[in-house]
């Protein structure tokens, strides 16, 4: 389940089950916070199964018809979403997606109603490694909390120890996380819930007594800060990367992220969709990935 290095130019099967293109039925689609929605999608029971950290790519467009001219519809490309949960229910597989309404396509997705169909490609990418003998420190920022909820589900099922940290700008932008009530440490920039500040301020409050593994997903700057915090303490840290994806299956080379430790020119960039999204934090060249200053 560990992330493969950027040097493996031959994508193998992903960490989870078989990748497929499937029609998924909307079970529910509810707003859970300001600009934040929870989408449940039903798939054939044999779909996947995915591992926590993997993603799916959605399009709202119907399949292209061969006898018609092929157009882009509302958008040409699919949009990738890390899974926030997965279960089997009533003879079907149910994939959970927590997403932020940020643009045209997520705006359209937010309008989906139960019974409508979407086209889903996945499960794809690498997952978070879940160790039997370590305390998991899960750090999510904004809608980046999504894959860590899936991790927390699995860890709780296995009765392993974990701490869930959740940072947002304000309380009204945070998903409620009722399922983990009592085990979430909140941080908000405006102090409207939990610690005023960032997830780093909450990490600084933690007393870690046993071997800990940090897993994180969120804005690039937060990932870098968490990676740096972990590195200073000698803690293993796994990050879930986001870049602009083209295909989501490692055939277009669009989602390049600057990498460290590669053997040659080809390995200077890893592909977030194929080598990740989950990679060891030390694989990322954070200085090179920082956007050009305005």
């Amino acid at each position: 389940m560990s992330a493969r290095t950027g040097g493996s130019h031959a994508p193998k099967g992903c960490a989870g089950g078989q990748i497929s293109i499937a029609a998924a039925e909307v079970v529910s689609n509810q707003q859970v916070a300001r600009d934040l929605y929870w989408l449940s999608l039903a798939l054939p029971e044999t779909w996947g199964p995915p591992v926590p950290g993997q993603f799916v790519s959605l399009t709202l467009e119907p399949p292209w018809e061969e006898t018609r001219s092929g157009d882009a519809g509302s958008a040409l490309l699919r949009r990738p979403f890390s899974l926030a949960g997965f279960c089997k229910k009533g003879g079907r597989a149910v994939a959970e997606i927590l997403y932020a309404r940020v643009g045209k396509v997520t705006g359209l997705i937010s309008g989906l109603r139960a019974g409508q169909m979407v086209d889903l490609l996945g499960p794809t990418g690498t997952g978070f490694p879940i160790a039997q003998d370590a305390h998991a420190v899960l750090v999510g920022g904004g809608h980046g909390i999504a894959p860590l909820l899936f991790v927390a589900d699995v860890i709780r099922e296995r009765k392993l120890p974990f701490t869930l940290l959740y940072g947002t700008r304000s309380a009204d932008q945070a998903a409620p996380l009722d399922a983990f009530a009592g085990s979430v440490r909140w941080a908000t920039e405006d102090g409207s819930r939990g610690t005023q500040g960032t997830v780093i301020d909450v990490l600084d409050q933690l007393t870690l007594e046993q071997r800990s593994v940090v897993m994180t997903c969120g804005p690039r700057a937060m990932l870098e800060a968490v990676a740096h915090w972990s590195g200073k303490r000698g803690l293993e840290c796994w990050v879930s990367l986001e870049e602009i994806f083209g295909c989501g299956v490692g055939i277009c080379a669009s989602c390049a992220v600057p990498a460290r430790g590669g053997a040659g020119a080809y390995e200077r960039f890893l592909w977030a969709c194929r080598d990740g999204p989950v990679v060891p934090a030390e694989r990322v060249d954070w200085d090179a990935w920082r956007p050009v200053k305005a």
Binding site: T67, L76, F269
Partner: protein, 328 residues
């Protein structure tokens, strides 16, 4: 399935017997290549070709064109490499690839097992780089090379495709080192695409692939910066289909060489447009990004379209466009 095998004997015309679907023959002749069907992948949109074969249905394709390989491995461009536009994408990948040595050692053996004809796209900064790359890669189990003289996203990428004399230098250098079929991928970012194409054919190219991406640009208004790292990128997708089709038509009218049509093709109907104006084969590119099985589905779509017309040979449709003047 491989190239250069004799095609199955042409099936008889649109005779219908009982409930049997009418016989359909999708095979095409592209210069020296005989392909089971005219559907190829466009370089750079389908990896090396062997990724997720069950998902892509790669074995149904007429040919796979690989990601461009250069002599030395290349890093490619920094992110962001992609920007979605109305009905298209701008890309600035920059030929990230493993290099010829690793390609031959690790990738090629797997491609030989895929089934479709394998066309290796090669690139370089100088004519001798193209030639050297072809020398390193050529061998059994390959159908052809496609010379990528038209990548807009690397230094000197467009130089060779912008003048007939420069394009000729690349083809001459490569032709002197190999007898394998050569196709040259042309840039649409020129005033007279046919003169560049003619120069390539005169130097011994077996056909032309038309077209590579159109130069395009997007600006981040808030930051007052170009979106892409090299300011400009290559536009592809349905947005460019009419532009690409027009270039293919122009080449077909002015030259008599085989042409592989590419640019915004998504469905079988789109493919038929290119075949009717004179392309002998077509490539599916950007559409693979939404649907990695697009090419395989398009093959099936062509079969169905031909069946609906009563069967027959797809190659009989090639270049049969009826223009108002020729009708008159």
């Amino acid at each position: 399935m491989s190239a250069q095998q004799p095609a199955p004997a042409a099936e008889s015309g649109p005779k219908k017997t009982g409930c049997q679907p009418p016989p359909v023959d999708l095979s095409v002749q592209v210069g020296p290549l005989r392909l089971d069907n005219p559907v190829m992948t466009a370089s750079g949109t389908f990896g090396y070709g062997d990724e997720h074969p069950d998902l892509t249905g790669v074995s149904a394709l007429g040919a796979v064109v690989t990601k461009t390989t250069t002599v030395e491995p290349r890093a490619g461009n920094p992110p962001p490499r992609l920007f979605e536009t109305p009905a298209g994408i701008l890309n600035s990948i920059g030929l990230q690839n493993v290099g010829a040595e690793v390609f031959v050692r690790d990738v090629l053996p797997r491609l030989r097992e895929l089934g479709p004809a394998i066309i290796v796209s090669v690139g370089g900064s100088r004519p001798q780089d193209f030639a050297h790359c072809v020398e390193l890669i050529q061998g059994d189990g390959l159908a052809a090379f496609e010379l990528n003289i038209s990548c807009p996203n690397v230094a000197s990428g467009l130089e060779f495709s912008r003048s007939p004399a420069e394009a000729a230098k690349v083809v001459r250098a490569v032709r002197s080192r190999t007898d394998m079929p050569l196709f040259v991928k042309l840039s649409p970012n020129v005033t007279d695409i046919a003169s560049v194409g003619r120069a390539c054919i005169e130097e011994g190219a077996d056909g032309l692939t038309a077209v590579n991406t159109f130069l395009g640009m997007a600006v981040d208004v808030e930051r007052r910066r170009p979106v892409l790292p090299r300011s400009v990128g290559g536009l592809s997708g349905p947005a460019i289909r009419p532009l690409a089709l027009c270039r293919v038509w122009e080449l077909a009218r002015r030259l008599s060489c085989p042409i592989i049509g590419v640019g915004g093709i998504v469905t079988a109907r789109d493919a038929m447009e290119f075949l009717l104006v004179g392309a002998s084969a077509i490539q599916v590119g950007t559409a693979n990004l939404r649907d990695p099985s697009r090419g395989a589905r398009l093959v099936e779509g062509l079969r169905e379209m031909l069946r609906a017309k009563g069967g027959g040979r797809l190659r009989d449709q090639i270049g049969t466009l009826r223009t108002p003047l020729s009708e008159g």
